[in-house]
Assembly symmetry: C2
Homo-oligomer: 232 residues x 2
DNA sequence: GGCCAGGTAAACCGATCGGTCTACCTGGCC
DNA sequence: GGCCAGGTAGACCGATCGGTTTACCTGGCC
């Protein structure tokens, strides 16, 4: 094989590396990724074939394989970009909606994350969390997209932890875990018509939790044993 | 198309109707359903083909189609049986572990549901909730298995509601919603290595919530506005 | 003009998909 | 013995899967 310029699909850079790498894409690649994002989320990853993606994007499989290298890389790119969008959405929402004078105190940014989630889901989330769905369809732990999925969840927990510390929680780890639980639960229960307003319920429960987590531990906390019967 | 005895795959009864219908199955059908359950859960529904299921069960596709009628019905039967197992597990656990003198009061049965969940997942749940995963792979709302999925979630919420009423919660609806949220969140976050002990965290948060939900509303509740900024 | 990245069009590959079919064997029941 | 449900074995169907290949067109840049 000569030293020609072929080989190594360039968009592979968008799959695993730099944050802004997903921005500059060939027009064809852009349409492919957009089409793939919609189809993967709405119909499922394994249920959507590359032929359909290419057709829907108005291109051919050739372009798809030239730009992305394969379906797995395209899946990874889809999740990566979705992750970037969600992070940007959440942080900018929190920055704008909780920066001013929140009347409910230091926990305002943490509560705002639930409002951001509600609006995000209202706009583009009728089928639950794209990452949880993807994880369901990609059992292989070695699949490159798995890293993107776990990173997304880990980032949210980390973000909630930062906000918890900033809010002055006396156990930011516990608070972040609890709020992460509520986030995931709300996303899952939405779409499955079992709870009327899952995000609202999660926010209400979060407000209760916050109230307790932000008051000094000596204030009103009864000395209940918080260790479950079977320990650990 | 005479009036012969062919037609109408019998196991279709196990897909949509009666609760105990899944019990009496042909030996071959039993092996097929067992194999399908394992494969569907561990590798994903769309990723597993009927050929593999038949081979793994030591039968042929002929038997599979004779007994179940098609892949969709087999999927439905898989979810239905898993649902039955989970309900039996949860209720029997709560009955045996919370019937006696729970020292933490009337909320004991509700807390016990989290212990039941923890043990259930420890035994057979490395890949998250089979129903959530299935929902991710079956976008079509008309798919027969969707009914089983939503029924499973609805049942859990209903069960939590009953226990909440029995515990004397002054807002059993709100409590059931909150606990359902924690259940789902715990199941999702397990397997995605982001929180050390999701079920434990959920249980701890549930204990806090219970404490508040079971005390009279006039006790210590500050009159904070529980309406989010943007209402609803 | 030459070069080349980017793209379109379409044939092609082996494998697998869900599903059907014929043929034959077995054991129990009437 | 006849009948039949249940099962095994395996060929077969059209469609689609992920992926590769050849050929040709286009516009910009040197």
């Amino acid at each position: 094989m000569g030293t020609k310029t072929k080989k190594e699909p360039e968009a592979a850079a968008a799959t695993a590396t730099g944050p802004g790498a997903a921005t500059q894409l060939t027009p064809g690649a852009r349409r492919i990724l957009d089409a793939a994002s919609t189809l993967f989320y709405e119909r499922g990853i394994t249920a959507v074939g590359v032929d359909l993606i290419a057709k829907e994007a108005g291109t051919t499989k050739k372009t798809l394989y030239d730009r992305f290298g394969g379906k797995d890389a395209l899946i990874t790119a889809y999740l990566h970009e979705r992750d970037l969008r969600w992070r940007a959405w959440l942080t900018s929402w929190v920055d704008t909606h909780a920066a001013g004078g929140g009347q409910s105190g230091a926990g305002e940014p943490l509560l705002a994350t639930f409002d951001a989630l509600a609006e995000w889901m209202r706009q583009h989330n009728p089928r639950g969390c794209g990452f949880v769905n993807a994880a369901a369809e990609l059992p292989d732990p070695a699949h490159p997209a798995r890293r993107v999925i776990t990173e997304q969840k880990r980032w949210l927990r980390g973000y909630l932890y930062e906000l918890s510390v900033a809010a002055g929680a006396h156990d930011p780890d516990e608070l972040a875990d609890g709020l992460a639980l509520l986030h995931e639960g709300a996303v899952v229960l939405r779409g499955l018509s079992v709870v009327d307003d899952p995000v609202g319920a999660a926010r209400a429960l979060a407000a209760q939790t916050l109230e307790r987590a932000l008051t000094p531990p000596c204030a009103a906390g009864p000395p209940v044993a918080d260790t479950p019967p079977h320990g650990r």
